[in-house]
């Protein structure tokens, strides 16, 4: 829709994630490596999910719209499940402290955000905007907000999931998977963007708070951090399990 929209949506979608990257990850090469590893594993899960979807589409009845919609839902669900199996690989890195989970979760988030929004951004640079087929004008903006939520959600889910795996609290793991499914299926509500974005943000906030406490944060640490008494509060709050 023009360069202004392009930049706006880009910064909305990737802003928090990039600032997180810059402030906490960019300084340490090891963390960057974990970030890339996380992104890579997400790509692998996407590959498997898309293989299954592609095959199922080819053998399905292309004419039937309801079948295609059903396939879409199936694809979404399968992909979520596949994505959730990949953090299991994090077991390999158990020996390192758990900050890396945040990092790899962010890597997950980056890659998923990229895939979900880059082609929309590419088209937003041109002169046109959404609407000639009668669709809502808010397509770009809501896509950007949704992407931001998903990137942060991936990061929070990573932390919670790992903690759940560590402590063998399987209901925690199930909660993560279920909430991931819920968020993905909420997107079927589009173009009623309010009904998809608001619940997603509520889930994101609650996941964020849960992840914060899981990682060892508390109100006291938060106060200390905000008054700049604790420099790197996330790192400092790691407790050996």
């Amino acid at each position: 829709m023009t360069a202004a929209v392009f930049f706006g949506c880009t910064f909305i979608a990737f802003g928090p994630a990039i600032s997180l990257f810059l402030f906490t990850i960019a300084r340490e090469p090891l963390r960057v490596i974990f970030l890339i590893a996380g992104a890579f594993f997400w790509l692998v899960s996407l590959l498997l999910a898309s293989l299954v979807w592609f095959i199922s589409v080819q053998i399905s009845n292309k004419e039937s719209a309801s079948q295609q919609k059903g396939l879409l839902i199936f694809g979404v669900v399968l992909s979520v499940l596949l994505q959730e199996t990949f953090p299991a690989f994090h077991e390999v890195f158990k020996c390192f402290f758990c900050f890396f989970v945040l990092v790899s979760g962010l890597g997950f988030g980056f890659m998923s955000g990229a895939f979900s929004v880059v082609n929309i951004l590419a088209d937003s640079v041109g002169p046109g905007t959404v609407g000639i087929h009668g669709d809502s004008q808010h397509y770009f903006l809501s896509s950007a907000f949704m992407t931001m939520a998903i990137i942060l959600l991936h990061m929070f889910w990573g932390v919670i999931f790992f903690d759940g795996c560590e402590k063998r609290r399987w209901f925690v793991v199930a909660a993560v998977v279920v909430s991931h499914l819920v968020v993905s299926c909420l997107t079927f509500q589009n173009p009623q963007y309010v009904s998809s974005l608001v619940p997603t943000y509520i889930i994101m906030l609650s996941m964020g708070i849960w992840a914060f406490y899981t990682a060892g944060g508390s109100l006291r640490n938060l106060k200390l951090c905000l008054t700049c008494k604790d420099k790197d509060f996330l790192l400092a709050n790691h407790r050996p399990r």
Partner: protein, 645 residues
């Protein structure tokens, strides 16, 4: 010489999108894109744009370039009347505008106003009606080819520049104007309805209030790389200087087709008794390239000549004539006589099988499709007739024609006044030498053709006059004579399918090929030659000499009992020679004597419609068209949108 303006015929098509056409027809959310964006080819573009299918090529002469490679964007405006132009040019709040108009408004006054206000005009799209406008329309000049004919200050000055009679009174000269914005033509079909509907839905002021963003807009791509004029453009061609030669413009050209009634005797060049040249023209044009029906201006004449050549085949083979007939079809006559000037030049330089000395007289068949009240007019050149011997020959020609016409229901007359020759190839021959010549036309003082060199010069303009209330079958039976039927069918074939625009030299136009093969078939004879020999232009394996006959292999029809076609070889005297203006041979691109028309190279031609938000949000230049004549010829620029083609 300056470039002139040719435009594009464009078809808008609605591109549907499979993956996006969910039951509720909603766009797919970004999350879904995670899973399917890489699997399907449909994408966000289809939600944004209604794009067009692959279009036909464009050619242009004038610098109607789009400002940049990324196309011109303008807010759609449906022009309702000439007064409505005010909105576009002055009062409208969202310039620049893309003006859509019916062809009734495609007049000189409207286009000149748009040209003057071109800072607020992003482009024009003209909806072509299915019926011809009854008042006529001709974008050509009032005096066609006035500077390249024979009449000038030194030859018949009182007759030059249409001082005595205006040949094309309906001409508005639009084809020769320079416009800074693209002008496309649209067929009046569903897609055009879509465009109009988009305007009505989003852009039309309601109850006097101004329309608000988002507004419906259209983007047209027709980047032309040529600049200024031929001399500058040819100079900038890099052919031969770089590893990847790029040409920005190419000369117009094609082939002239000619055939002597009997094969020429090559040893006796220059001293034969004389050829009588009978000529017709092969080309036409319109304001929009790719539409060049040329029914009356080209097809009528060349069909007549083909029919005559066929009718005379047997007569010329058997009789011992003192002079042979030389059938000629010139290409590019619309653009300052490219074909005929080239042939005269070749004759003067002794590069043609016959010389100017061999030419005894000239008969030209011009526009003959519309003769009213069964009258046909013979035009001659009064200046050359001042010479006694020429006058005698011309009188003989005229009386011969009148005698021949006595048995038919056609009266042949000369216009009674002293007036110049109409635009015709004979004028180029007269520039070389005063030949006795006659031009047959269906008008006496100005064109009967109301759609001269326009997109309306089609079958309808020929007004094939049948008695009313005949069904198509009865109409066909009405034309009883087999020769007439053949001529009629050839005419229908040409008029409905062929585009008579000459285009650049490396592209042979359809009429050239058709006429070449038709002429061979109609004047030649079947030869007992194998296919391989035929294709190698020889009689048999031992035949090594070059003769003035040519062979062409005809695929033939399948006999009733089988599906395999039975081909045969036709031996005829038909040849084609290059019809490229001598100015390009001499590399004199500013020549006043010869045609210097060239055609620009162009990138993709396409268009699309979409909604735009406020112009304030655009960082790139607002769609305008005066700047950046970009001379780079890179690979085809696909732009940022993947348009389905």
């Amino acid at each position: 010489m300056h470039f002139q303006n040719i435009l594009v015929h464009l078809q808008f098509h609605f591109i549907g999108n499979y993956a996006l056409k969910q039951p509720s027809n909603e766009p797919i959310s970004p999350v879904h894109f995670i899973y399917i964006a890489h699997l399907t080819t449909e994408n966000v573009s289809n939600v944004l744009y209604i794009a067009k299918k692959k279009t036909i090529k464009d050619s242009e002469d004038h610098t109607t370039t789009l400002s940049s490679l990324s196309g011109d964007v303008g807010v759609l405006h449906l022009l309702e009347s000439e007064e409505n132009l005010d909105w576009v040019l002055r009062t409208g709040l969202h310039p620049p505008y893309m003006v859509i108009m019916e062809s009734a408004l495609f007049t000189r006054s409207v286009m000149m106003k748009l040209k003057n206000g071109s800072s607020r005009v992003a482009g024009v799209a003209v909806v072509v009606p299915s019926a011809n406008p009854p008042q006529g329309f001709s974008p050509h000049n009032k005096c066609p080819n006035e500077n390249s004919g024979v009449y000038s200050e030194s030859y018949g000055p009182t007759l030059a520049h249409c001082n005595t009679t205006v040949w094309n009174p309906l001409g508005n000269g639009l084809s020769y104007e320079e416009f800074d914005f693209p002008i496309f033509s649209l067929k009046d079909d569903n897609d055009t309805q879509l465009i109009k509907q988009c305007y009505v839905d989003h852009n039309r002021p309601v109850n006097g209030s101004d329309p608000q963003y988002p507004l419906c807009a259209m983007q047209l791509f027709s980047h032309m790389s040529a600049v200024t004029n031929t001399a500058t453009c040819m100079r900038r061609n890099t052919n031969g200087f770089t590893f990847s030669p790029e040409s920005i413009c190419e000369p117009l050209g094609d082939h002239n087709i000619w055939a002597p009634a009997k094969p020429l005797n090559t040893t006796q060049k220059g001293h034969k008794a004389g050829e009588s040249m009978v000529m017709a023209t092969l080309d036409s044009r319109s304001f929009f390239s790719e539409i060049g029906p040329g029914a009356e201006s080209a097809a009528s004449g060349l069909i007549t000549l083909l029919a005559a050549a066929h009718a005379l085949r047997n007569a010329t083979q058997e009789a011992q004539l003192s002079r042979t007939i030389f059938y000629t079809f010139f290409h590019g006559e619309t653009f300052d006589y490219i074909g005929s000037s080239r042939m005269v030049y070749d004759m003067e330089k002794n590069q043609f099988p016959i010389d100017l000395d061999n030419v005894h007289s000239v008969l030209e068949i011009g526009q003959v499709g519309l003769f009213s009240s069964s009258k046909v007019w013979l035009h001659t050149d009064p200046v050359s007739r001042r010479n006694g011997s020429v006058e005698e020959e011309v009188k003989k020609l005229v009386s011969n024609l009148q005698t021949a016409a006595k048995g038919l229901n056609v009266s042949v007359e000369e216009p009674g006044v002293t007036q110049p020759l109409p635009p015709s190839s004979l004028q180029r021959f007269l520039r070389a030498r005063p030949f006795p010549g006659v031009v047959i036309q269906d008008y006496s003082s100005s064109f009967a053709n109301m759609y001269y060199q326009s997109m309306f010069d089609n079958a309808d303009s020929l007004k094939m006059s049948y008695p009313p209330n005949l069904t198509p079958e009865e109409q066909l039976n009405y034309v009883t004579d087999t020769a007439k039927v053949r001529a009629y069918m050839m005419l229908r074939l040409l008029v409905n399918t062929a585009n008579f625009y000459i285009s650049v030299e490396r592209q042979t136009s359809l009429p050239t090929v058709l006429v070449q093969h038709l002429l061979a078939n109609l004047t030649g004879s079947t030869a007992n030659v194998t296919q391989e020999d035929c294709k190698n232009q020889r009689e048999n394996q031992d035949d090594k000499e070059s003769k003035h006959v040519s062979y062409s292999w005809v695929q033939g029809a399948a006999p009733p009992n089988s599906t395999e076609r039975k081909g045969f070889c036709v031996r005829s005297t038909v040849h084609g020679t290059k019809a490229l203006s001598p100015a390009f041979e001499l590399e004199d691109y500013n020549s006043k004597d010869y045609s210097t028309w060239t055609e620009s190279n162009w990138k993709q031609i396409k268009g699309r419609i979409f909604l735009v938000a406020s112009h304030d949000l655009e960082v790139n230049q607002s769609a305008k068209a005066t700047h950046s004549r970009v001379l780079l010829n890179g690979p085809r620029c696909q732009g940022l949108y993947r348009l389905l083609t």
